[in-house]
Symmetry: D2
Amino acid sequence: MRKICVFVGSRANYSSIKAVMTAVQNHPDLELQVVLGASALLDRFGRVETLIRKDGFTPDFTFHNIVEGENPTTMAKSTGLGTIEMSMIFDNLKPDYVVIVGDRFEMMAVTIAAAYMNIRVAHTMGGEVTGTIDESIRHAITKFAHVHFPANDDAAQRIIKMGEEEKYVYNVGCPRIDLVKDELKKDSYEELSNLFSTFNGVGHGLDIKKPYILVSQHPVTTEFGSNRKQVEETLYALNELALPTIMLWPNIDAGSDEISKAIRTFREKERPEWLNLFKNLPTNIYIHLMNTTACLVGNSSSGVREGAYIGTPVVNIGTRQNARARGKNVIESNYDKQSILNSIRKQLEIGKYSMDDLYGDGNAGEQIAEILSKANPNIQKKIVY
Amino acid sequence: MRKICVFVGSRANYSSIKAVMTAVQNHPDLELQVVLGASALLDRFGRVETLIRKDGFTPDFTFHNIVEGENPTTMAKSTGLGTIEMSMIFDNLKPDYVVIVGDRFEMMAVTIAAAYMNIRVAHTMGGEVTGTIDESIRHAITKFAHVHFPANDDAAQRIIKMGEEEKYVYNVGCPRIDLVKDELKKDSYEELSNLFSTFNGVGHGLDIKKPYILVSQHPVTTEFGSNRKQVEETLYALNELALPTIMLWPNIDAGSDEISKAIRTFREKERPEWLNLFKNLPTNIYIHLMNTTACLVGNSSSGVREGAYIGTPVVNIGTRQNARARGKNVIESNYDKQSILNSIRKQLEIGKYSMDDLYGDGNAGEQIAEILSKANPNIQKKIVY
Amino acid sequence: MRKICVFVGSRANYSSIKAVMTAVQNHPDLELQVVLGASALLDRFGRVETLIRKDGFTPDFTFHNIVEGENPTTMAKSTGLGTIEMSMIFDNLKPDYVVIVGDRFEMMAVTIAAAYMNIRVAHTMGGEVTGTIDESIRHAITKFAHVHFPANDDAAQRIIKMGEEEKYVYNVGCPRIDLVKDELKKDSYEELSNLFSTFNGVGHGLDIKKPYILVSQHPVTTEFGSNRKQVEETLYALNELALPTIMLWPNIDAGSDEISKAIRTFREKERPEWLNLFKNLPTNIYIHLMNTTACLVGNSSSGVREGAYIGTPVVNIGTRQNARARGKNVIESNYDKQSILNSIRKQLEIGKYSMDDLYGDGNAGEQIAEILSKANPNIQKKIVY
Amino acid sequence: MRKICVFVGSRANYSSIKAVMTAVQNHPDLELQVVLGASALLDRFGRVETLIRKDGFTPDFTFHNIVEGENPTTMAKSTGLGTIEMSMIFDNLKPDYVVIVGDRFEMMAVTIAAAYMNIRVAHTMGGEVTGTIDESIRHAITKFAHVHFPANDDAAQRIIKMGEEEKYVYNVGCPRIDLVKDELKKDSYEELSNLFSTFNGVGHGLDIKKPYILVSQHPVTTEFGSNRKQVEETLYALNELALPTIMLWPNIDAGSDEISKAIRTFREKERPEWLNLFKNLPTNIYIHLMNTTACLVGNSSSGVREGAYIGTPVVNIGTRQNARARGKNVIESNYDKQSILNSIRKQLEIGKYSMDDLYGDGNAGEQIAEILSKANPNIQKKIVY
């Protein structure tokens, strides 16, 4: 029985790896270990721990490592603390593989602890190209990883070019698509209609059958200090449009506070009737929103990734998703009220797009589990060229 | 005035970056900041802090972060602690550039703190290929670095292939060669003759004018558990040869304890008259030893690097220097007493080699300082392909 | 010049020590060092750093050490992180004395770092008796402290009984009273009238000349899990009274989240017109509120301490101030809506009390500075009996 | 089943608590949890982990927290790191009681984590009076402890005077005496004769049947910087005596390096034929040495404590055991060669003393286990007066 340890550090992480966790748990030759840390335990970020337990996974360890402050210094400090904690956890769990999801700052802590402790590292969502510090983190993790599970062909080619052994680079598609595929089979009308009563939304509510906008805009860590201005451009563009809108609070990266402040100030000043805010929504609800919204606005990777499979019209703002492979469903905009407004109007005219399997066709989880049960890369890595 | 922060974490580090420190200090547009941590402060590893102060550098901060245990877990934990400390130090020093030297485990702490805090990272000695976890660390640092100073052309090409912007990859040669060049101008006879009285060597002493062996064998972290056996093969090969020998204690990596135990046990058992042990020797002394030894044995990078410039006959044992570019002065051996013995004997026959500028011609420090005073890479990195 | 280092970890801390900081800064033989950490840097807790800088103090170091989670585990973890940071800071500042204020959890970090590093510890507000873990922390700090500055005679006697040398126990009164004394000389009508526009209060506002209630209720860490219920009793008592009320959000101790949730839920459910909430108010404003409120309700130490000097009618709820010396201005209540309501009504009838110098007469700061410039306790402590 | 967690941080700790561990393990209503950290895992300090496992205890968690440097700063930093680790461990073990042994620096980490996390603290060996920072630590732990197990009546009285509830102060005697009692029933001649071959002693050996000196001198942390000089006085006194001597290397407190250096330098300079050094000896062996030595010299608490029960002639040097209750078997000396020499000669004349039950009669472990199975102190502590 190989022991496969999955670390989940945020709500977004969980959506990206749930299909893998399920597949590992169901695989006869694998034993699943679950570790939760970072914002996965924090109420302020929707405490995905609760959802994970409800889904039937029992964490082997949970730990708090987020040092308050939400600035670049605490991002580094939290990573240091996470490294200390993970080294102790691995000492106890002694996994055969650690699965690292994507590129958030805390993932560096898990990767270093594993690699230094001679535990094999499997990396999902490597090889992509984006903005922010995540860009550097993602490629650095690739250089520590023994097995790679990029989410599309573009990304796979990039990993190989970076000098990784082709044999251990598997383009299995994105595990998030597995969830989307499953979810879209279900009828969601009732749940969406009860959004406000179920998930404590703030605002006047909306009729889910009529055209509405979905907004998800996160901080860009390398543009620390400008995030407030950037989100204000979005808010004032939406204010002009004044269509019913569902907006999510930002994630925990450095700069998160700037965005939260911008939203609060905007609300107090403009008292926008059209704006509805949610702290966190379950992934499945979010998928149905992506499936029914007239346009997804912001800089979330979901627009590019799940958006391609679902066919969601997306306005992608700014540098955060720069150069991540995307389908025809995405229109780009810079941080400028007018540009954002024009792009949204264009998408409203076009309407929904057809399905594109750019990020896989929905069975990434099972492929990954199967590969992890067999792959035997050398613990001593060596660059290919 | 740009502020250039150099972190020194070990005696070896200092030799690799001293020429840069001097050049930055002398440069009219640069201000030098010095931070010392890890084994640079520890008596057990020769406390290079003393030497650094004697050389006229005043550390801005010093910190202890090595968690005792010398195993893979504490290597990770020390890195976590180092990340916490460095984030606080950078908060106070606010440098424009941080210079990262090479690839030892604690360098990851400095790199993460700098990169997460939006400080530009300059990396020396990137792009090389070796064994141990250093191989992964080195390339991961490359993925965080904004400016690269590889020590040879091979390494430069590798960095570019990994997707780094060619414009910021400068093959300036290795700063260690700067020291060698300076040092070899001096007469060292008297100092070498007083080795034992000055540096507290343990053993019966030797006549530096007669043929003698120099040994430097460090732990291979990915072969944790085998290091004791490996160094025993070396010791018993040397025992057969019984030529006067100067041996250095191993560095602080996981596995160091295994090697130290092997040496102690060997001494108690065999009471070798030919063996002289030194805890640490100043770099300049070591350079003269490389210049006068009949053969350098072990797995130190100095054999490959400075050895090329000096022309030292080298027997390189095992995987630690695997695939690092090397000149004709190096003969390879596996971890086997007989193979080691044969290789040494071959080198004794051949004698000294002629100079090879594979790792530069001795002015890397000044080139690096000049580049750091001008280069303006974007803080937001982006993979080239 | 003796170097006196003051650590401020929260807004409350600052009020308790500001008079000492001023006196040390003005003393000819003393040099003030200021270190800020814990919640003193956090927006969520009013970021007292801003105020401290505005008051003309320049922090020598600031550090983030609060690990998110607000539960007993993160309280311990934050203390561990604080100890690591403080040990580095003391290494750099090398103070002669460290002044420890009171008994909040992070103070243990500062105390341990100082005591272990052979730096003399001066402790203010020791010897008092309260509820929560602060009770243990306070007395443990006493056992590390070399010089004691209790705020009243009761407390001084208790410190001596604990085996501390009488010679180094100085009943100087409470430095918070110094601020109160200064503040009450000023006219505050305009500032109080502009509370809402200046300090972003949430609520419908109130007329400061008419009777109003002031509420400050903090979590009781040893009653973790019950805090929500407790504050609800208070809220529903106030709801019945429905007098205009100013309430402050709770401090950062474990349990803070419970109280915040209770308040938010109460507001959404009852939509109380009478309730005005403030995140943080400057100390001086708070003093004037204590001076003008018809009744202060909750478990803040200010009711007992400053309340005595000012003559504020106070209803003290629950165990948090248990056994802290108090004057006749305080009526006790348990965690029960009806009991709280009855006590408030009684105070409303009685009205304002006359001044009581139980906690000093307003020149503690200067006395402390003078003593610190002269006292020479042995660094090796020894229990008296 | 109450869960009783015992933390062991050093070889000395284990001797002090082994009897309790055994009794808890054997108690029908108790479940034993064992956590090892600090120097208990370090080869350099005899890695008592090995012995503990051999004795049949299986640690639930082990962790490294000693930051290298052996100075006051790293002592504080190690404590910070230990607090972080212990908070995580308690989160997982959720014990009903934590047993804190004595007063070494790392014990503060365990105490804070437990007390902050609302876990009851039981403290052994409280209430004693000694030198060094241990003096403050011990009493601070008392102020956090819910149940006290002092080792003698003097100490019990002191705890009560400090304001602890008399009901929870149990004078059960010292658990170390339990081991002594058991051990002295055994014949040790063979083991003692094989000391050198079994425990890798350094020196020329000695005949255990003839008079010999036993030396154990540890650093005094508050006299950091003077430890080298102090131990030199001892060494030169012994050099004059030139009786066969067994000396132990010092423990890990700040200043340990000074003592080690003094010993090494002395050996190189004087080449003392009479001096035999041991890194660590099993407790049982040490007990037999105390039983057969002509005189125990140094500042170890064993001379005062076990010495009373065994009747060992002791010369206690300097301040480290100041004011610890002692029997007639101890003669005091200051840090002066001649004074030390005179005191030893006096003890050699007197010879062995008769048994004194000052520190109990050998059944402390069982009493403690029984009390822990029944005692129900309030988690909220309150000073008595």
